[in-house]
Each structure stands twice: as C-alpha cells, then as structure tokens.
C-alpha cells in the first residue's frame, strides 16, 4: 500500500483508509452471519446424517420414537410443533391486533406509554419463568375448571368433539399453545404498533374527513397500509413459537404420540431435544435428535422464505396501484 503514491492531502488519505477499514468491518460482520449459518446447517447435516441414512424418508412419516429398539420417526414432534404454534398464533394474532389498535387509535394518550412498556416487559421475562408459571399456575386452572368444561360442552359433538376428548391432564398441546401465545404476544404487538404508527396521518385524517368510522379507518386505511409490517410481525412471533423450548417442555406433556385431542399430551421438536439429548447414548439416538434439529431449521427457513415471497408479492401489487 505504501508503494502507491496518491497525491491526496495526508488528512484525506487517512480518512480514506479509515473509511475502507470501516467498510471492511461491516462486510466482515455480515459475512460472519452467513458463515455461522452455513456452519450450523453443515453441523446439523453431518450430525443427523446417520439417522437420515438409516430411516430415509420414513424419518418424516413415522410416529414411532423408541430409544430401546432404535426406531426413530419425527412425525409426532413435527405435528406437536405445528399444532402448538398454530394455537399460539390463532390466539396471539387477533389479541395483538386488538392491543395495537387500542394503543395507536383509541387509547388516551397518557395511558399509551405505560401499557406499551408493560407489553414489552413481557418479552423480557425468561422463558423458564413462563414454563413454571404454565405448570404451577395455568395447568391446575385448566385441569380443574377449563378442560372439564370443554370436555362436557364440546366432547360429544361430531368432528369438533374430537379436539376435546380424553382426561383433563392440565398439561398438553393446548396448554403449550396458550403459554406460547402469551410469550409471542409482545413481539407481534410491538411490531404491529410500530407499523400502525407509521401510517401517514394525512391519510387517516382524509378518511375521517370523508365520514369513515373508526373501524373503517383502522380496517381500510391503517391495515391496508401496513400489511407487510403485520406479516413481518406475525412471522417473528411464529419463528419464536416454533423454536421455543423450555416453557413448552414444561407444559406440553412430552409424549411421542399424535392425538386428535388438543387436551392430550404431545411433544415438539425442541422439547424432545431438550428432554433427551443429555442422556441419549448411541449414535442413532443422538443422530436422530440432531436430525430433529435440522428439521426445525428447515421448517423455520421455509416459513421465513414463504413470508418473504408473500411480502414481495404485496409490495409488487402495491407498486402497481
């Protein structure tokens, strides 16, 4: 470097170098993320290879998870992961929407900041605390009052009844879904609130000026303006719900079984790994657990990719209009 003489003022030259150094650092930081991601993927593939080679496609379609006979299938944890996350999203998304609308549109100004901080505080609670709360506080309530009521009311109905049968254990897929809903709520709410706030004031005022009701403004103006952001928030919550480990392990019931009933115990990918990895002995067993990890990686990646595609489509449509 020193052999090239650049006729700049020394001061300028120093600044150019500092600039170059800064850019190099940012590029390196970004590259590091990719390298780590590739490393994780590779480690999961290598670790999970013995299981995938032995069970092939059956790893995805079998329910059996038997460490004694070394037979492993990921269907039950996969099912549990999807169902618990689905329950969580079904509860959390409308709730978050309501909270965000209230905070940005109808809430008295002095109350906005305190409520918003409380919701963000929820995000700071460690997941183990949610797990313990779910097990010791929520589960008994569900077991003694909510679940017996659900079983009595819906248990005998055709179709729908299948979701609410079996003994009320208190813990199970539904409880895990509920705990997850509380856990993802602050993430989705914060994002929704931010994007609602970003709606141009002039648009809202114009709508009110045309005689729109508050609901019409929220639904037609605010919501249609922030669709991309809302999907982003939901995906953030979903990603958290899919991968949440500790809280779910406490309340999901940890049974490698697939049941139609939401009250029945089940398991999720991350709960299985957390439960069994420490005491897993034998190549196939550990490898199957790592393959589960790979599965979660692929699942999350697919969902994020789908969300991106959806966002791109929305943006394109938006641009055309």
């Amino acid at each position: 470097m020193s052999s090239i003489t650049i006729p700049y003022h020394p001061q300028l030259r120093r600044e150019a170098r500092a600039e170059w150094l800064f850019r190099g650092l940012t590029v390196a930081s970004a590259a590091l993320v990719l390298i780590i991601l590739a490393g994780v993927l590779m480690a999961l593939c290598v670790g999970g290879w013995p299981a995938l080679r032995t069970f092939r496609f059956g790893f995805l379609t079998h329910e059996v998870w038997n460490p004694v006979t070394d037979q492993f299938g990921a269907l039950a944890p996969l099912y549990g992961t999807v169902i618990t996350s689905l329950i969580a999203m079904l509860i959390a998304v409308p709730l978050a929407f309501g909270i965000a609308v209230f905070l940005t549109e109808t809430c008295p100004l002095w109350l906005r900041a305190p409520i918003a901080s409380c919701i963000e505080l929820l995000a700071a609670v460690p997941s183990i605390v949610f797990g313990i709360w779910g097990l010791f506080v929520l589960a008994p309530v569900l077991q003694h009052s909510v679940q017996p009521w659900l079983i009595d009311t819906f248990g005998d109905l055709p179709w729908l009844g299948k979701l609410f049968r079996g003994p009320p254990y208190g813990i199970g897929l539904m409880t895990a879904g509920l705990v997850l809903a509380v856990m993802v709520l602050p993430f989705i709410t914060s994002v929704m609130r931010e994007v609602f706030l970003a709606t141009p004031r002039s648009l809202k005022e114009a709508a009110y000026g045309l005689g729109a009701t508050q609901w019409e403004v929220v639904w037609d103006v605010v919501l249609s303006n922030s669709r991309a952001g809302i999907i982003g928030g939901i995906m953030l919550g979903l990603g958290r719900a899919l991968g949440e480990t500790m809280a779910v392990t406490f309340v999901v019931g940890n049974a490698h079984r697939i049941s139609t009933s939401l009250l029945a115990p089940g398991t999720t990918i991350s709960a299985s790994i957390a439960n069994e990895f420490t005491e897993a002995v034998g190549t196939l067993y550990t490898s199957s657990l790592i393959a589960l990890g790979l599965l979660l990686f692929v699942l999350t990646f697919t969902i994020i990719a789908a969300a991106r595609l959806l966002l791109m489509q929305i943006e394109r449509r938006g641009a055309r209009v």
């Binding site: 150094l21 460490p67 006979t69 208190g170 392990t249 439960n275 005491e279 002995v281």
Partner: protein
C-alpha cells in the same frame, strides 16, 4: 472454562496487534483498535494464567442425579485439602462421551457400561453412590405407605392394561384398603434420566410383557400416560391429578412428603422406602461376580431389599496419562470414608463397606498412570 480460550489464543495475541499497527501507526481509529487488541491479548494471557493456577483441580463430567452430593463432597474436600473438583453435570451420555474423548479425569453415569464396552474403550467403572426410585400416588384417602404395589402390577399400569384403581390385581395386594373406582393417570419422566432407566429396568425384569413392548432405557416410548420434566415435574403432575401414579427419586419423596407406596420385593416381603432398604439391596447384590461392576441393583434378593435401587457409576481410563488420576482416586477414597454423613444428610445412600473394599481392590488391580500403578496413592 478458561482452558478452552487459553488453548486457542495463547501464542498469538501479539500477531493481530502488529499487523494492524504497522500501516495505521498515526491514526486515531487504528490506535484505538490496536490498544483494544493489546488489552484483549492481556486479558487472554491473564485468563491463561488463572487457569494454570487451577490446574490442580480434578475434572469430571456426567450424571445429574449424583451432582448435589458430588458438589457437597467437593466443597468439603476443598476446605480440607485445597484441591477442588470441577464437576459438570451434563448427563450420563455426555459423561461417557467426555471420558471416552479423554477431556475429563473421570466420567459419571447412572447406567453402567457393559464389560465389552469398557474393554473396548480402556475404561474401568465402579459404583460411587446409591439411589433409588419410589412410586408415588395421588388417591383420595390414601396416606403415605398405605398402598402396596408389586412390579408386575406397576408394569401393567404403565402398559395401560390396568386402568382403574379398584382393579382386582391392586385390590388383591391391598385387601384392607377400599380403593375408589377412579381412572389411573400414569405420569412418567419425559427427560432422559437414570431414574427412567432404573424404573424401566426393574419393570422389564419382573414383567415379560413390559420387557417386550417397552424395554429398559433412559428414555422409552410409553404407550399411555403423560410426561413431566424432572422429579419436580413428576411430583407436581402427580399431586395435581387425582388418580395419578408417578415415580421419583428417593431423596425427593423424603423431602416433599409425597404419598409413597410400599413394594413387594424379590423375596415376597413388603418394604418401605428408607435408607436401609436401599443399602440392603446394594449389600445383597453379588458385586464380586459382576464383571466390570455391571450390576443394576433392581429386583435384588434379600428380605429388606428395596426393589428399584441403583448405583451411580464413575468411569476412568485403565491406563491414564492424566496427572489428576491419583488426585481423583484420593478424593473418591476420602468420599467413601468421610463422606457418608454428608450423603445421608442429602438423602443419598452411601455404599456399604463391603462394596467400597471391593472397589479399592479394583483400583489396585487395574488403574495405572503412565504405566505405573495409580493406587495406593503415595
């Protein structure tokens, strides 16, 4: 903790500093950076120095079940001798992997390795502490120790073959109790654990059906029931659910006052879960004949023996190059001799003297450091 950092960084902390300092000698930003690097280097060196200071510590890894007593022993031993123990309770599987890789002086496992595995990896194992598993129930009107169960009945419950508490099989064992027509809710440990292994090992020994359909392992596939995490999870789930049956470590029953059951043992006698029942199982076992101490203390003979008893094992290399081998043996010897009271305080069951003498004979025969006998320590 510091060891890993030391290994990576010692020797090159100067290198990055020099490379950056040369071209940017006069600049503010680079000066700051290079100062940062020097500081980092100093921190790394300091870290290396401290870890060398702790090099006398014995390192071990493995089972979580004996962790509280190993930690207690380590604390007392450090006070007496100044030698510390760094025990990572990462689970039996992890303990076995680490001792095989030679990253620790000893490994600890709740499930003994078979003689062939020991030979293949050049390892020796011996029992260190005894624990036991106790069935607990939640039936209205039933107090601790009221209910009597035997292995085949428990196996049938966990297979789903017996589903009500007033089933004739349970009633026959408890003629004096009036048992309710209540559904049984079996609760099991969902996390892989030594407790699971002992419980399923016992049920496999006494019930052919259990052995065929479920088998014995640290985790198994249960056909019925609900899984709870850890002793506290099982205890809580059992306490919450009317008609539940679960199984927890002995210490846990003692500390929480749960509704334990009595058991019908191998000799057909009723036993109450208490320290001497576990010790009886260990004393009555034929250790001398078990190659590599591969002995699981479930379903042992003897009129006082608790049927679901087990030992936690220590694993070490037969021919070690680890300088801490002798120190570790001294620690184990001390724990056998002076650690009994501490073990009892924490509701663990110390090994009977008969067994500790056998173990020390094994040290004498098969443990070497750099080709020289490791025991007795000089």
């Amino acid at each position: 903790m510091c060891l890993a950092i030391e290994r990576v960084n010692v020797g090159n902390p100067g290198a990055p500093t020099d490379r950056i300092r040369q071209p940017f000698q006069e600049q503010g930003v680079s000066k700051l950076l290079s100062r940062l690097m020097v500081t980092l280097g100093a921190v790394v060196l300091a870290c290396g120095a401290t870890s060398r200071g702790h090099a006398d510590d014995i390192s071990g890894a493995g089972a979580t079940f004996p962790y509280p007593i190993y930690a207690k022993w380590a604390e007392a031993y450090k006070q007496q001798t100044g030698i510390g123990l760094n025990y990572q309770s990462i689970g039996s599987g992890g303990g076995i992997k680490q001792i095989e890789a030679g990253t620790v002086t000893f490994g600890a496992s709740d499930k003994p390795l078979e003689a062939a595995d020991l030979k293949q990896n050049g390892l020796v194992q011996w029992p260190m502490i005894i624990g036991g598993v106790v069935p607990v129930v939640n039936i209205p009107g039933i107090k601790p120790g009221d209910l009597i169960l035997d292995g085949p009945t428990i196996a049938a419950i966990y297979l789903g073959d017996i589903s009500r508490w007033n089933d004739p099989a349970i009633q026959k064992l408890n003629p004096k109790l009036s048992l309710p027509k209540l559904d049984i809710a079996p609760v099991y440990r969902s996390d892989g654990s030594g407790t699971n292994f002992l419980f399923t090992n016992y049920l496999s020994k006494v019930s052919p059906g259990f052995s065929q359909k479920i088998g014995a392992n640290t985790s198994v596939q249960w056909p019925v029931g609900i899984g709870a995490k850890g002793n506290e999870g099982v205890a809580n789930q059992t306490a919450q659910t009317g008609g539940a049956i679960g199984y927890v470590e002995f210490a846990y029953v003692k500390q929480t006052g749960m509704t334990y059951t009595r058991m019908l043992n191998h000799d057909g006698k009723y036993v109450v879960p208490e320290a001497k029942a576990f010790q009886a199982a260990a004393a009555n076992a034929d250790w001398a004949k078990a190659e590599g101490y591969y002995l699981i203390l479930t379903d042992q003979p003897g009129s006082d023996s608790w049927p679901i008893t087990g030992a936690s094992f220590i694993l070490m290399h037969t021919d070690s190059k680890d300088a801490q081998t002798v120190a570790a043996l001294k620690f184990f010897d001390w724990a056998y001799k002076s650690g009994q009271k501490m073990a009892e305080d924490l509701d663990y069951v110390p090994l009977p003297d008969k067994v500790t003498k056998l173990v020390q004979a094994t040290w004498l025969q098969s443990l070497k450091v750099n080709g020289k006998p490791a025991w007795p320590a000089r």
